[in-house]
Symmetry: C2
Amino acid sequence: MKFRRSERLVDMTHYLLDHPFQLVPLTFFADRYGSAKSSISEDLTIIKETFEHRGIGRLITVPGAAGGVKYIVKSHPDEAHAFINEMCETIANPDRLLPGGYLFMMDILGDPQVLKKVGRLIASAYSEKSIDVVMTVATKGIPIAYAAASFLNVPVVIVRSDSKVTEGSTVSINYVSGSSKRIQTMGLSKRSLAQGSRVLIVDDFMKAGGTINGMVSLLEEFNAAVAGISVLVESENAEGRLVNDYVSLVRLSDVDVKEKKITVKPGNYFDRL
Amino acid sequence: MKFRRSERLVDMTHYLLDHPFQLVPLTFFADRYGSAKSSISEDLTIIKETFEHRGIGRLITVPGAAGGVKYIVKSHPDEAHAFINEMCETIANPDRLLPGGYLFMMDILGDPQVLKKVGRLIASAYSEKSIDVVMTVATKGIPIAYAAASFLNVPVVIVRSDSKVTEGSTVSINYVSGSSKRIQTMGLSKRSLAQGSRVLIVDDFMKAGGTINGMVSLLEEFNAAVAGISVLVESENAEGRLVNDYVSLVRLSDVDVKEKKITVKPGNYFDRL
């Protein structure tokens, strides 16, 4: 059965979006539709232009026998600006205030449309680095890790403060929580992470960075490398920050419990691009 | 600027895939591309046919002034069969065996391509029900919950066994774990779930169903309704199962620690369709 161009465009768009960062040989599409490679090339030019024009991402063409086409997530700066400003407004809503000056964030972290955008932005920021795996710590970092990993098409590993029998043997470390100065433990299942992996660490919130620093130490135990660190929200007034090189989407400047005022600014996302 | 049909098809495919279960008015697309509604209708016919033919999903057209088009995830039975058989093989790998007869599953639960398919299948099974929210319990159910929720385009709420200061006030219940018969506690942040919500409960693993039964009890406290229950793996030899109406992708029949043999069969996914 032969396919018309219009049908190929729809199916190829779906296929590429579903397999980011994966090199797809042109022969794969040629066989799938019983079409000539020249027609597939023309289709890909249309998709590439539309993806770029609409800020969906980029199509990279690798020539040669081992070549093909690869979809890479790359969000448009306008999209990033709009979304980050929207997030600042959402987080500044005083209804989020909890006793002790904490902010309720589970509605944001539970919304798949928000997470998709967070994942797109984080994946875009690291789209030129080679990332093997996304790491986070349970529980609230998990949705962000999966969102970024699904756009980078790499696995997620989850560090835990409690070790479970269902994870097998675990490598654990002690670390000092930056803000509370308490000694805590975190561990990662031994078979979760291959030696030499290039790891993107993500989390929902970073204050002094003790938890993230703990994950960095844990990576050393696995002979794995930090390829990047990204958080949804960083706290501006963190004394003695332990982590310097990171990408944040949003910066929490001030929480005034008495006046019920939360001051939020864009993070360093754009400085790094 | 006017768009050619080929560009419209690529962008509309991306937009619809990105907004499942959302009614998009035809005027939205007409304005977006400066095209006549009749052209948009023709585009949608092509997309609809390709989505159905390729097992991507369905496009539902709602006529009238308040109408539009809606993309609904619906996986093809062939895709479901192939994936479930693949999962059975993957899970039956004796390397998964941990002391005590537990199975290591974090590689599966960390793989975004696997999760996408799990999410597609679960969302497909409930695509005709009206689901407001997906609920799970920390930690291992979380990736499955987000995968299903992203295809259903609804929020996720996470039940926890420990309550955190960052969640605000919590409704907690005690429940009896079906297998260990121990009394445990689980809680959900009060503002996570609106009264009357129709909730799809998901988890990675179900033995007797104590944890899922706990979530059902918790929903009663919120005056919310169970719209469905779905698990990736159910254990076949569970005495005194507490949950009857559920959808499972895979069924664990037997774990023979001595012979290092794991027996896995497809779950009841197809019986329910």
